[in-house]
């Protein structure tokens, strides 16, 4: 399964050990921890989940089968939040940069997606509607 960022409504910015994501349509915004950021950067760019697992294995000590299952669930969570969508068009491997050597590996930390919904109240109070080419206001979904 290939994925891509749900652009243009989803925007994100990577920091050293975290990622900040916003969904302009829903009004929700999110943070990913470092593990989540590594997965996001590969999966959202069309990389296979196996590539993400390989990148994590290069960074972290042994990842158990149960933890792999949770990583699958984490990616599904990104899909459920409409941050990434299934990409049926693109294919191929994503280069994995600067994977640390094995002796730099550290204890595994599961990926975490934290969701913030405090802007939704504001959006419900004063939702901005956009006018399409037909010249008539169209309410954006979930706003």
């Amino acid at each position: 399964m290939k994925y891509r960022v749900n652009a243009p409504q989803v925007l994100y910015e990577a920091f050293d050990d975290e990622m900040v994501i916003i969904n302009l349509d829903s009004g929700s915004y999110y943070t990913l921890n470092d593990t989540g950021r590594v997965i996001w950067e590969i999966v959202s760019a069309g990389g296979a989940l196996e590539q993400a697992l390989a990148a994590l294995s290069a960074r972290f000590e042994d990842i158990s089968a149960e933890q792999e299952t949770r990583i699958h669930a984490f990616v599904q969570g990104l899909v459920d939040e409409e941050l990434i969508v299934v990409d049926t068009l693109s294919a191929g491997q994503v280069p994995i940069n600067d994977a640390p050597r094995n002796d730099q590996r550290r204890a595994y930390i599961p990926p975490a997606l934290e969701k913030y919904t405090d802007m939704q109240e504001l959006l419900l109070l004063d939702p901005i509607h956009e006018v399409d080419e037909q010249g008539w206001p169209v309410a954006k979904a979930d706003r």
């Binding site: 243009p8 900040v20 302009l24 913030y116 004063d126 901005i128 509607h129 399409d132 080419e133 206001p137």
Partner: protein, 347 residues
């Protein structure tokens, strides 16, 4: 120029021919803005908030804004292809039909804003200037200035800014988290003041600079007791349930402390702790983006990847601090000064 913009232009010119035209020039974010008021009714309502940015040196303005209403001029807003002034939308509505001429109708303010991006001209119209809400008059032309400056790499940010000796901090966070309290406490302590609410952020020359937009302060009811002096100054400037804030024209009352721009040395995210003392601690730069980005992005009609990218770039250029704000407000200015001093020393 779009057909719709031409139609509105024609109505504005008829209004000027009928009742006269006043002008006022401003220096906003390093650019010159000339406002033309048909009859002056709207102009008189919006000038107080930006009077500290008046500038009489402009010859050829970068942006021209035509402000007018129908009630005082006797000239109705003509129907546009997407806007019926007799039946305006009941919600905040963004019109993108013409990419070179975006428009926005605020049902809350009753203001229609149109910007002709190619010709650097804009219209700011409302049915009756007397009905312009206090909150709109306290931060007028937001949408026009946001769109126009965004095209030039400057971004309208929901943040306050205070400082001293030309250096300042951005104070950011959701409403109710201590942004205004921090900014106003610093103002009263004699520090330089750019804003407690909105600033224009420019990072074109490699440094991050916060430009002043509105010379006002705003108090929510829970702040009235904490700022009795400001509350008295703001009497009579309070409006509706949608915006239950007292507005103080700080540019009139504290003219000497109003500052057109400060270099941003840090982003400060206040947190009200309930403890007595105030302290600060370094925080990841992602925290600054988390505090500043949501309310900035969702308050700006049409904000998207460009604005998000500008904000992200800015927070990565300066350190971030959490300000654990205590109940003894007089400690806050000292904590802000220490942050600025520390960043200067570390630089």
């Amino acid at each position: 120029m779009s057909t719709n913009f031409q139609i509105v232009n024609g109505a504005f010119e008829r209004a000027c021919a009928r009742i006269g035209c006043a002008t006022a020039d401003f220096r906003i974010g390093g650019t010159s803005v000339r406002t033309f008021g048909a009859g002056g009714a709207v102009l008189e309502r919006i000038i107080p908030a930006v009077s500290h940015l008046r500038d009489n040196s402009t010859v050829d303005p970068d942006l021209k804004v035509y402000v007018w209403d129908s009630a005082s001029t006797g000239i109705p807003m003509p129907p546009l292809s997407w806007f019926d002034p007799a039946n305006p939308p009941a919600t905040e509505t963004l019109y993108r039909a013409d990419p070179d001429c975006p428009a926005f109708y605020s049902s809350v303010s009753g203001v229609l804003s149109l910007l002709d991006l190619r010709n650097n001209r804009a219209h700011y119209w409302t049915e009756n200037a007397n009905n312009l809400p206090v909150f709109e008059a306290s931060c007028p032309l937001r949408t026009i200035l946001h769109w126009w400056h965004s095209e030039r790499g400057r971004i309208f940010v929901h943040a306050g800014c205070v400082g001293y000796d030309g250096d300042g901090v951005l104070i950011t966070g959701m409403s109710g988290k201590g942004k205004s309290t921090t900014a106003l406490t610093c103002l009263l302590a004699g520090m330089q003041y750019v804003s407690d609410d909105y600033i224009l952020l420019d990072q074109s020359d490699g440094t991050v600079v916060a430009h002043s937009l509105y010379g006002v302060g705003k108090l929510v009811p829970s702040q009235i007791e904490r700022f009795p002096l400001l509350a008295r100054l703001g009497e009579g400037y309070r409006s509706g349930p949608h915006f239950d804030k007292t507005v103080i024209m700080l540019n009139e009352q504290f003219a000497g402390r109003m500052t057109a721009a400060l270099r941003v040395r840090a982003v400060v995210v206040p947190e009200i702790t309930g403890a007595r003392d105030t302290r600060s601690a370094p925080a990841p730069q992602s925290r600054a983006l988390l505090a500043m980005m949501p309310s900035t992005m969702f308050q700006l009609p049409g904000a998207g990847a460009r604005e998000f990218g500008l904000l992200s770039r800015a927070v990565k250029n300066v350190p971030c601090f959490i300000l654990h704000a205590g109940t003894e407000l007089e400690q806050i200015p000292g904590a802000i000064r220490m942050i600025i001093e520390k960043v200067r020393t570390d630089a």
